[in-house]
Symmetry: C2
Subunit: 212 residues, 2 copies
């Protein structure tokens, strides 16, 4: 190992300089972190046209599972996707994470608006029940933004319910492209995933482990 | 349920219109999807200043685990973070996912450049070994972009190795802010996570299940 670091040309002086710079950075960071004392349930939104919105949200669900924090998932639209996550959770962690798939697939698969609306409203009713449950600390509402955009679930109802009924220590995570500005405005943490490059453009099909 | 959908004012005409529109959309989509026939290992990059880069990458790891696809993780920098994922994988899925934490924490925590370089180069050596292993189909190089930005690992080496040595059916996922343009250019799938809102700004501390 020492050969490798020497070949990188690190002199004792450079090392001392680095240590000093990083000590300063750490002091500044520690000072900032000391002001971050609040613990509370967040409204989190993942939106944008890029990938990773649902994947990152499921990552949070797995983090909760890892910490033994009871959580729940409601899938609003793509019942056919995230099958990997669903199988894994239902097989191994159903005691700590409820999984409700309430949609039947993308809207262009069902082609039946009335049925889609019924499913979305049933999913929203289930979501409200889970959010109000004081034992559940994180609820993922996967692809709710799509159901809102199609006017299946009114955005005003979602915001009003979360403001009035969400317990202080419960996190709610909402995913889906085209999040309403009102919802982003109300969120504690909002992230936009943007596409820089996508392999679909070059003829690669959806693959297990990556897309689903 | 029918009461709810009626109260949404859906007439049979609107329903028929919706079905027609969605049938068109489905036909267009099916036509596009039919051209997506290739299956191959991708170079995937998650970058940007927003959250979700590592979380979404770990989400892919859990998808692989769910599908029984052997995978591996090398953590380049933040040995202290992603503890939830590490515990969960080591406790339940160590037979299918190797987990190597090679860094000791953020650079401002260690304040020792030479030791950081040694750790980063050891991590990169482990990464190369895992990528070349034909049994492992997805390798997550978590926070490699940080190690590259600090000049701990040369970006040219990373690109050259992946182009020459990565098996065709192996996915490599690289995370971390400030990805080099060269790496993004070479990626099959690249996503930028941007911050729209962050609770750190309002005094909320990092919380289990959300940040780690």
């Amino acid at each position: 190992m020492s050969d490798q670091s020497e070949s990188n040309g690190i002199t004792p002086e450079a090392n001392a300089q680095h240590a000093q710079k990083m000590a300063k950075k750490k002091a500044a960071r520690d000072k900032i972190m000391a002001t971050k004392t609040e613990q509370r349930g967040l409204l989190i939104v993942h939106t944008g046209k890029g990938k990773g919105k649902s994947t990152a949200a499921f990552g949070m669900v797995f983090r909760c599972i890892a910490h033994g924090i009871p959580c729940a998932v409601v899938q609003f639209i793509k019942g056919g996707m995230a099958t990997g996550e669903r199988d894994l959770i239902e097989t191994h962690f159903s005691d700590i994470c409820q999984f409700h798939t309430m949609g039947e697939g993308f809207t262009w698969e069902t082609q039946d608006r009335e049925r889609d609306v019924q499913h979305a409203l049933a999913a929203w009713a289930k979501a409200k029940e889970l959010i109000k449950d004081p034992d559940i600390k994180l609820v993922l509402l996967d692809e709710l933004n799509i159901a809102i955009r199609y006017d299946y679930v009114p955005v005003a109802d979602v915001i009003a319910f979360i403001e009035a009924e969400k317990p202080d220590d419960t996190h709610v995570v909402i995913t889906g492209r085209n999040a309403y500005d009102d919802l982003v405005e109300r969120a504690d943490l909002a992230t936009e995933m943007s596409l820089l490059k996508h392999p679909f453009r070059s003829g690669v099909q959806a693959q297990a482990g990556i897309e689903f």
